[in-house]
Every structure is written in structure tokens, then in C-alpha cells.
């Protein structure tokens, strides 16, 4: 039984990672073939760095995903605080449903509807080109927002409501209380929200495809347009680099998470030890 379950596990992982492994391998191929390894080289990496269109698409994507992540983190955190403070339960429920809909909505619907809106507003304003970096940014902030709100809200709920009150009690104005006490408390949620927004924005294709004009090409759109012509291995090289970056981000994130957990563990142990001492002193 044990062997069977282990084999099953290995199969699952092969299924998950084989495509990536193949892609990484082929990215080091010295020939142009996608089926036959002709020798190891960094040729396609050099090719990729020489391809200015791809590099610009990468730069565009980074600019877009970082700025949309920053904006949606700020706006989403404020929204979460607002939702958390709502006293009317019915209203809060309604706002939460409205928040969740864009998440459940298929990307294609969100993309088409945003495009329609931008074209409509663009026509009203008499603009020459309806779609640009700015429409793309608005679209990305829109679909990122609910993820930020949903990662910040639980931290707010965890916070004892006396904590901000204690800050007011000690002389903080409500604004000071937010920055000195509440924000540090919900920071882990804010960071998680930011990372989620960044990755979602980075790898989005469907919505971007509908809302970006011809003037601004993201990486996913660029790759898609390349595939339509012919697939060159420099795309594999780029994908490998992105995969490595994501892996690195994940490892760093997990390590910080684990060290936090380890802290909590040693703290707990220490507390128990001190409890013991206190009990001893009492006797």
C-alpha cells in the first residue's frame, strides 16, 4: 500500500512538472529543433536578450504588474478597513458580494465588458485610440482588488477591537492609530495581497488581450502573437527565467513564513517556561 501511494505521488508530480522540465531542457538546446536535443548551450538566452521586442514586453509587464499591484494594495487595504468597520450587517454582506463577483466572473466576460466600457467612454470623450496603458492599468486594478481585500480582511478580524482603542486611549488620533498600530498588525495580509495582485497581473492574458491597445504589449500578449507565427526557443528561455523568478519568490516567501512560525514556536515554549517559573515562585 505504502509503495503504491508513493508511486501515485511520484506520478502526480511527473504529470505536474514534466512539461516545465522539458521546456527548461529545450531552452538550453543549441539547435532550433523543439524535438531533438542537439547539444547544450546558452544560445537562445543570448538570442532572447537581443530580441528588443520581447524585452520591451517584459519591461511593460513589470511596470504594469508592479503599478497595478501597488494601487490595488493601497485601495484594497483601505476598502477592507472600511468594510470591516461597517456596522450594518446587511450592507456589509452586500458589499462583500459585490466584491466577490469579479473574482467568480470568467475572465473573458470581464475582459469583454471592460473593453466595451473603455470604447464607450473613449467615444464619448472623443479620444483617438480607446485602449492604452491606462485602460490596461484600470482593468488590472479592477481584477486585483478583491484578492487584496480578501487577504486583508481576515487580519482585521483577528485584531482585538480594543487594540485600536488602546491607541486612541494613549493619545493617538484615529489616523495615527491606523499607521502606528493597525497597519503593522495587518501587514502580513497586506503583503500577501500585494504578492497575489502582482502574480495575477503578471500572468494575465485574457483580460489584457481585450483591454490593451496596439501601443502597449505585455509579455503574455507578445508570446501569444509570436506563437501565431512560429515558436522559437528563445521563448522557452524567457519562460524558464520567469519560472526561476517565480520559484525564487515562492521560496523566499515560504522561508519568511516559516521563520515567523518558528518564532511563534519558540515564543510559545518560552512562555510555558516562564509560566512554570511563576507557578514555582508562588509556592
Amino acid at each position: 500500500m505504502k509503495i503504491l501511494s508513493r508511486i501515485y505521488l511520484i506520478l502526480v508530480f511527473i504529470f505536474l512538472y514534466a512539461p516545465i522540465a522539458v521546456m527548461i531542457l529545450i531552452s538550453f538546446n543549441s539547435g532550433e529543433s523543439t524535438t531533438e536535443m542537439q547539444g547544450l548551450s546558452l544560445y537562445w538566452y543570448r538570442e532572447m536578450l537581443r530580441d528588443s521586442a520581447t524585452l520591451e514586453a517584459l519591461r511593460n509587464t513589470l511596470v504594469l504588474s508592479i503599478s497595478s499591484a501597488v494601487i490595488s494594495t493601497v485601495v484594497g487595504t483601505l476598502a477592507a478597513v472600511g468594510i470591516h468597520r461597517m456596522r450594518n450587517r446587511f450592507l456589509r454582506g452586500a458589499v462583500m458580494s459585490v466584491t466577490n463577483i469579479p473574482m467568480m466572473n470568467p475572465d473573458i466576460v470581464t475582459g469583454i465588458s471592460l473593453m466595451l466600457l473603455f470604447v464607450f467612454v473613449g467615444t464619448l470623450l472623443g479620444l483617438e485610440s480607446y485602449l492604452s496603458f491606462w485602460t490596461l492599468l484600470i482593468a488590472h486594478v479592477t481584477f486585483n482588488l478583491p484578492y487584496v481585500i480578501l487577504s486583508v480582511l481576515p487580519k482585521l478580524k483577528q485584531m482585538d477591537k480594543n487594540i485600536p482603542e488602546a491607541a486612541l486611549d494613549l493619545g493617538c488620533t484615529p489616523i495615527q492609530s491606523f499607521f502606528k498600530v493597525e497597519l503593522p498588525f495587518i501587514m502580513p495580509g497586506v503583503v500577501t495581497g500585494f504578492i497575489m495582485a502582482f502574480t495575477l497581473s503578471f500572468d494575465d492574458f485574457v483580460i489584457s488581450n481585450f483591454t490593451s491597445g496596439s501601443s502597449f504589449e505585455t509579455l503574455t500578449i507578445h508570446i501569444y502573437s509570436m506563437i501565431k507565427k512560429s515558436v522559437k526557443p528563445d521563448i522557452y528561455a524567457l519562460s524558464t527565467l520567469i519560472f526561476a523568478a517565480v520559484l525564487l519568490l515562492l521560496v523566499v516567501y515560504n522561508m519568511s513564513d516559516r521563520s515567523e512560525r518558528a518564532d511563534a514556536k519558540t515564543e510559545k515554549r518560552r512562555t510555558l517556561r516562564f509560566r512554570g517559573k511563576e507557578g514555582g515562585a508562588a509556592k
Partner: protein
């Protein structure tokens, strides 16, 4: 007593309701300088809401709050010379002990690091936490967190300290120690302490003044001895300690009839043949031989309590609680004697007949209801 001191806080006709439910119903209360005053009552009696109104975290629907003669209804908490020790401490988890205590000074823009460090050290000394400066607050035990919360609240030298059931989460031994420490701290600093608890023993042992509350109203205000010896009505008599509350008739001054017998008492001024509630504390009842007792009854249960036995006696259908150091056997018939000064007479009130009969008494039930009280508020 501090009643002679200067009035510091006045509550005038405070009414407050949440979602249409009245939590405070026309409360008026004077609090004096250098006073240790306790708001005592079961959960939901409005004691915490009263505290929060004084602290500025809730505003009354109607009525006024005065501080030093100035109306402060609309003054936000950060502008009041009042600090609070919260029920679950509410320490700032991202700061260490030192920074938690120094928080008030930093917000007040005290720039001199030496002054901050001196005052933090002074506070740590006062709460016996020397050497804990660099410790993270989440690594502290409940008792230690409690001390940090007190130090943090006192560093700005407030005129009033609010304490919301601060000892509720501590174990019994630690709680007793902290009670003494808090009392001493209040005496030493001269700061007015407003203390909220549902624990009557705590209230009696620490306070200069006890305010007994129930369902949003104040039942009685007085010194601990007043409250214990001269409860105003059956509710207070029952809530503060154990009491037998018997239906009686005041025949004349110094003479009351209950359970078919006439007793000499020390109360007067109730008129002739007036129905009253008679309070007799269990420790004031003497067990005697059945033939020589003023009243006679059958023992229905005996519980050993360490210092004394708790005996429930059926006298004419009414179950009395008696605390005695002499063992009596269950089902035995005993007589009881009551001295005149052990009898306390109260006017009939809306609470008459609701309390003070031990026919349905059970320790287990008592413990249960106490636990549930600690939950909310």
C-alpha cells in the same frame, strides 16, 4: 474616606441603547478624586458600557458626562486625561515591552530619550517587571501582560485609570496578589481607579466605593461594609455574598415577624405591620439544640467548604443556608438562633421573592453561571 474629596467625574442621566435595546437607563453617578470605585454587576448590567462612556469609546444617547466640571460628551478619547486597562490587555503585538509602555510618551512627542527611558524604568519597577524591557509581549504570561498593560496606561500620569475586568483571565492565586497590588498602587499614586468586575468578593476587598448595577440601573452606591450590611433590596442582598431573604412583617420598631416567630431586631422607622424583606447572612445563624432554637428545621444537605460547613435547612418549607463550623448530620432536626443585630430589614421591592431561597441551590449551577458571565461584556 475619599467621599470628602473633590468631585472629578459626574455622570448625569446617562442613557444608552444598542440596536434598540436599552443598556443604560438614566444613570447618575459621582466619582471623586483619589477614589477606588468599583462598578459591580452581572454580565449585561451595563458596567462596561458605563466605563466605555467615561473613556470616550461610546457616547451616551442622552445625559451628560462632566470631567472636572467641564462637559466632555464630545471629547474624543485621545483628548481625555483618562487611560484604560483593557479586559484582554490589548497590548501592541508588534512592539516589545519597552515600546508598549513608552507608546503614550512617544505619541505625546516626548523627544528626550533619557526621559522616556527613565519613566519606562520607573513604571517597570512599579509593576515588578524590571529586566523585561526587550521581551516581546507575546512571550509573556497573562499576569505579566497584565502588568505591562497597567504600566502602559499609567505612564502618561492620567487623572483616572479605567480597569475593565482586568483580572478575569488570571488564576485565583495570581488574582489575589494582583488585587493587593492594584489597591496599593492606587493608594501610592493617588489616581482615581474605576474598576469593573462581576466578582463581588473582589469588589468588596478592593474598593472605597461599590456601585451595584443591574439591567442598566444602579441598585446601590456605598462603601463595601454598607453594601454588605445594609443592602437596599433583595437583589443587592443576594448578589453580594450569600443571604437568606425571608418574607416578614415589621410589627413595630425593633420587632419583626417571620416564619411564624417574632424576632427582636435593631431596625426601626418602617411603621406598624408593614410587609418587608428580612435578610439574614448564613454566617450569622447559630445552630442550637432543636428544643431551644427560635426556629426549628430539618437538614436537607451538608457540604464541607474547608473553613465551614454549608448546611441547607428546611424551615417551614423555606430553605435556609447556614454556615457553621460544627458538623450536623443530614436529615437531623436542628434549632437555630438569630441575634437581633444579625437581622437586616429591607423595604419590599420589585426584586422581593426572586432571591434568597436556597431550595433550588446547587454549587454546580452557581459555577456554571459564573463562567458564562466571564464570556461577554
Amino acid at each position: 474616606m475619599s467621599m470628602n474629596g473633590k468631585k472629578l467625574i459626574e455622570l448625569r442621566g446617562i442613557t444608552k441603547s444598542f440596536d434598540g435595546e436599552v443598556v443604560l437607563d438614566n444613570i447618575s453617578l459621582d466619582i471623586y478624586e483619589d477614589e477606588f470605585i468599583t462598578l459591580l454587576g452581572p454580565s449585561g448590567c451595563g458596567k462596561t458600557t458605563t466605563l466605555r462612556i467615561i473613556g470616550g469609546f461610546e457616547s451616551p444617547d442622552s445625559g451628560d458626562v462632566f470631567f472636572d466640571g467641564v462637559r466632555i460628551n464630545d471629547t474624543p478619547p485621545y483628548k481625555r486625561h483618562i487611560n484604560t486597562v483593557f479586559q484582554r490587555y490589548a497590548l501592541f503585538p508588534h512592539l516589545n515591552v519597552y515600546e508598549n509602555i513608552a507608546f503614550g510618551l512617544r505619541v505625546a512627542k516626548v523627544k528626550d530619550d533619557e526621559e522616556i527611558s527613565n519613566r519606562v524604568r520607573e513604571m517597570l519597577e512599579m509593576v515588578n517587571l524590571k529586566g523585561f524591557e526587550r521581551r516581546h509581549v507575546t512571550t509573556l504570561s497573562g499576569g505579566q501582560q497584565q502588568r505591562v498593560a497597567i504600566a502602559r496606561a499609567l505612564i502618561n500620569k492620567p487623572r483616572v485609570l479605567l480597569l475593565d475586568e482586568p483580572l478575569g483571565a488570571l488564576d485565583l492565586k495570581l488574582r489575589k496578589d494582583m488585587q493587593n497590588e492594584l489597591k496599593n498602587m492606587q493608594k501610592r499614586t493617588g489616581i482615581t481607579f474605576i474598576y469593573v468586575t462581576h466578582d463581588q468578593e473582589e469588589a468588596l476587598s478592593m474598593s472605597d466605593t461599590v456601585v451595584v448595577m443591574n439591567e442598566g440601573s444602579i441598585m446601590q452606591i456605598g462603601t463595601p461594609t454598607d453594601i454588605y450590611n445594609e443592602p437596599k433590596n433583595a437583589y443587592v442582598a443576594d448578589f453580594i455574598g450569600e443571604s437568606n431573604i425571608v418574607d416578614g412583617v415589621m410589627l413595630d420598631d425593633f420587632s419583626v415577624k417571620m416564619s411564624g416567630q417574632t424576632f427582636v431586631c435593631v431596625d426601626k422607622g418602617f411603621g406598624k405591620n408593614t410587609p418587608v424583606d428580612v435578610v439574614v447572612r448564613p454566617e450569622d445563624v447559630d445552630v442550637v439544640a432543636p428544643e431551644s432554637g427560635m426556629l426549628r428545621g430539618k437538614v436537607t444537605s451538608v457540604t464541607f467548604k474547608g473553613v465551614h460547613y454549608e448546611v441547607i435547612v428546611d424551615i417551614g418549607g423555606f430553605k435556609w443556608m447556614i454556615q457553621t463550623t460544627d458538623y450536623v448530620a443530614p436529615d437531623a432536626v436542628i434549632g437555630i438562633d438569630i441575634e437581633p443585630d444579625a437581622i437586616h430589614i429591607m423595604n419590599k421591592s420589585e426584586y422581593s421573592g426572586m432571591f434568597g431561597d436556597y431550595s433550588s441551590f446547587s454549587d454546580e449551577l452557581d459555577a456554571l453561571s459564573e463562567n458564562s458571565e466571564e464570556e461577554e461584556d
